[in-house]
Symmetry: C2
Subunit: 260 residues, 2 copies
């Protein structure tokens, strides 16, 4: 990455800059390596820092870079493929999955969730059903890749005792849920930005781009649970389907060296 000042083009500077950096990343940097700091880079390319940042932002969005305040900008490893249903025992709480339960409360369902549960919109308006709300975090390669809120109406798990200790509560809900036999799952994926709470658990700043996966679990003809999972969009590629053979984690880039 030389002191290449940009030749005048009729293409936004930040766009051209992005291309140049992308190529430099492929050919001159190893995964995990730290780039020069933003002031340095901006000077080297002869642009304002804000312009340089616009290019870096996009590269981070595309999963090529990782930036951390107080630390620096590093070359990101290829996105990891995370398997989303129906395979790999994603039925919440199945043994061996990579979810870690971090809490559970019992509260009225938010309006949006009530609608997904197939409530009558009117009745949901004034009094949402009581739902067990389990918060979980999905770990992969020692990193938090997703947070999830799992909503289970009390009516879905009638076998539960009235009062539960915070320690056993989530486990009990998941256990009861696994007793039901799952008929099907509906899923939707959309782009969102991390709310403050999620951002913290994903070790990102609020507003970071995330992929929101909404799942409805159907058993015995009824929606028995709804999950809203928030995946880091920068580091994750969501994989669907039977085999999981697309889980190959390799990338285009020329050499795949490793930083010390």
């Amino acid at each position: 990455m030389g002191t290449t000042h940009l030749e005048p083009v009729q293409e936004p500077k930040y766009w051209h800059l992005k291309t140049v950096l992308n190529e430099a990343l492929d050919s001159e940097f190893a995964v995990g390596e730290v780039l020069p700091n933003e002031r340095e880079l901006a000077a080297r390319f002869g642009v304002a820092r804000a312009t340089l940042r616009q290019a870096l932002e996009q590269l981070e969005l595309e999963g090529r870079l990782q930036r951390r305040r107080g630390v620096g900008t590093t070359v990101a490893p290829p996105r990891m493929g995370v398997s989303i249903g129906p395979a790999q025992g994603s039925w919440p709480g199945a043994a061996g999955d990579a979810w870690r339960t971090v809490g559970c409360v019992e509260a009225p369902a938010p309006a949006a969730v009530a609608r997904l549960l197939g409530e009558d919109p009117d009745s949901a308006a004034d009094a949402g059903t009581l739902v067990h709300t389990v918060r979980r975090v999905r770990m992969m390669h020692g990193q938090a890749v997703a947070t999830e809120l799992l909503y289970v109406p009390r009516t879905s798990v009638p076998g539960l005792p009235e009062t539960l200790s915070p320690a056993t509560h989530p486990r009990a809900v998941l256990r009861e849920l696994n007793r039901l036999d799952l008929e099907s799952e509906d899923r939707a994926v959309e782009l969102g930005s991390a709310r403050a709470e999620d951002a913290k658990q994903l070790e990102r700043l609020p507003g970071a781009p995330v992929l929101v996966v909404t799942t409805r679990y159907v058993a015995a003809g009824r929606v028995v649970a709804v999950a809203v999972a928030t995946y880091r969009a920068d580091t994750c590629r969501l994989t669907f389907g039977d085999t999981g053979s697309m889980e190959i984690t390799h990338h285009d880039g020329a050499e795949q060296r490793q930083a010390s």
Copy 2:
């Protein structure tokens, strides 16, 4: 939306601004309505235009706003649910789907595609297989929501004549493809930014956020085709699963009035 100057908080201004605007959008604006211009809004909230823009950018990312150069900023309708296989005859070219074919060439497969097709990485390095490359656009409600490049190796459609006119070529490829019986599909979804070419067809600026859906079609134990589809992330919610009953296009917001 009053002349509410922001009270001093220890939260980024643009973040707070986003919250305020989001609420105003729910309560004081109808879908399709145009907002005051950026200079006006910035003045009204007592912030620099760049700061105001940071808030607007996020709201656009979340599908709440739509901005068009030379026109203005309007309140976006709720995201539309677009169905992604395996239902709804998504096997390319099936009758009645909303894809419009815009071109077709025969060329060596790019390295990334060759890998997805299950090629030997070494042989792919020096000589990619010849593939038919069909470019399609997915329309919904009269709007382009996705572009797709469908890669079909010549070996997958041996029945095809050597030379084809540009007009009949794509149709012929799709027809041959439909003769095979599809065994399964692998899919992956990740965040990307629109390349110049895609952006144009999606009526967005280059770099706009998109959801990239990569599909591998398997028939007779082999990968017979690979599709890379690029969906507008601002206007689309991708839906997966059996019923498509999550296709409800309604949103949280209080009233859902309609602009004139």
